[in-house]
Amino acid sequence: MPAATSLDVTAIREDFPILAQQVHGKPLVYLDNAATSQKPKCVVEALTHFYLMDNANIHRGVHQLSERSTKAYDAARAKVRRFLNAAEAREIIFVRGATEGINLVAQTYGRTHVGAGDEVVISALEHHSNIVPWQMLCEEKGAALRVIPINDRGEVEFDQFEKLLNRRTRLVAVSHVSNALGTINPVREIVKSAHGWNVPVLIDGAQAVPHMRVDVRNLDCDFYVFSGHKVFGPTGIGVLYGREKLLEDMPPYQGGGDMIRSVTFEKTTYNELPYKFEAGTPDIAGVIGLGAAIDYLDQIGMDAVAAHEHDLLEYGTTELESISGLRLIGTAREKAGVLSFVIDGVHPHDAGTILDREGVAVRTGHHCAQPVMDRFGVSATTRASLAFYNTREEIDALVAGIHKVKEVFGV
């Protein structure tokens, strides 16, 4: 059955040669997009072109190649600014991924603003990357980590969140979309409440940016992080958006080249934004590849992406719910991209192995979100996660694969 959206998925799939292959003699059905997304040809070509034709260090040489690579690098930053609708390109800091972005904020903003007896608020939906950096900070400073509870659907309990805010709260860090369940958090409302206490908010957008239009000025958030490889770009590159005023006041993260204005053994003057936070030669090719991925998404349109995936999610939810013995974990009213489930009498790892033999790639395990698993009383789930290049036929293949799992296990 064709999807009821305007996206020409057949044409789009031509841009992703990796999808047109067989595994174990079956057509590949790639439903592990929340772990990492596939790359369109234009991204791979941008990387190849950079290394074959333009490779040089940036912001250094006076020569032609350095000018070209610097131009391409700076252009990519401008693309990211536009993609997130940030006010200024200097609010876009390139990092290795969402994880490093969170650690940067914890180690700079966090270490200067969080002290003994203070509190940092996260949610029960967080990926380990948005838990551990704050635990480390709180342990070092003698601060407390407070956790917004979630309900049985996997939604944050907003009234409980508002009760957690107090005069000791120094920062709120929440995911935009949960990687394990797909819940879309009411981040705009969270920011509004936190700002009522003058508390800044970091949003982990790793699982949101691939699926929907993100506007950091509309969200009014103070920090926003995402990873390039989950948004059809290369691995090893990610973005931290930070409100200029906050970034200006923060100490540097790492010391080195590029982040300084002048160095003597007595005194170093730090460079201006964004370079203050980009010590050393960055992942130039990665940045350029990410820029190419953003160009590609601009062409398709994030609204069309969101509409197509919404259709797939609705279809998949209905299809999976009709399978006896299957329980969806995470049934939030607002969801994006994720179908997480357990099957009675079958451990997710066994389901994952059997699905793989049917050509269906899914993630099984705790998805680096063990507290979420504990909340639902499971040790692991099977997670199918979507991208705009997926189709209803692929959901059908997942459903057929689940029936095969049940057949092997006699359940």
């Binding site: 009498g345 451990h347 997710p348 790892h349 192995t353 395990g365 705790h366 698993m373 092997v408």
Partner: protein, 145 residues
């Protein structure tokens, strides 16, 4: 192919694990943990004069890890510690090499299919990691990583 992995014996032991209980009079025990999937397996031994009199396990895991632990407890009963160590080595070879199947594996030969599924080798060895820790003392949880 998939049925080479999920053989009847494995499915049977995963659904009805044998010796699946705490052993009150154990004099050796150890826990195995696979941090990648969260699977846990505690192995309890009652050993006297170098002979394993009783062996049980507890834990939560996939069909492969549960069946492996269950069959392990069956084959170990009455074995000497030296025999158990030797079996451990053979079982590991069974899973990780492409050599012809080691002899004298008895029921454990049903795990030969795991070879074709490298991602699942750690599931099959979890209980055996715990066994090795129990035999060699220490008592700390061991990790497959």
């Amino acid at each position: 192919m998939i049925n080479d992995l999920y053989q009847e014996t494995i499915l049977d032991h995963s659904k009805r694990p044998r010796n699946f209980r705490l052993l009150e009079d154990a004099n050796r025990k150890a826990e195995g943990y696979n941090p990648l999937c969260g699977d846990k397996c505690a192995v309890f031994l009652k050993e006297s004069n170098g002979v394993i009199d009783k062996v049980t396990f507890q834990g939560a895991g996939c069909a492969i890890s549960t069946a492996s632990a269950s069959l392990m407890t069956e084959v170990l009963k009455g074995k000497t510690i030296a025999d158990a160590e030797a079996l451990l080595g053979k079982f590991h070879d069974l899973l990780t090499t492409d050599q012809p199947l080691p002899k004298d594996l008895g029921k454990l030969a049903v795990f030969s299919g795991v070879r074709e599924f490298p991602a699942r080798v750690k599931c099959a060895t979890l209980a055996w990691h715990a066994l090795r820790a129990a035999l060699r003392g220490g008592g700390e949880a061991v990790s497959t990583e």
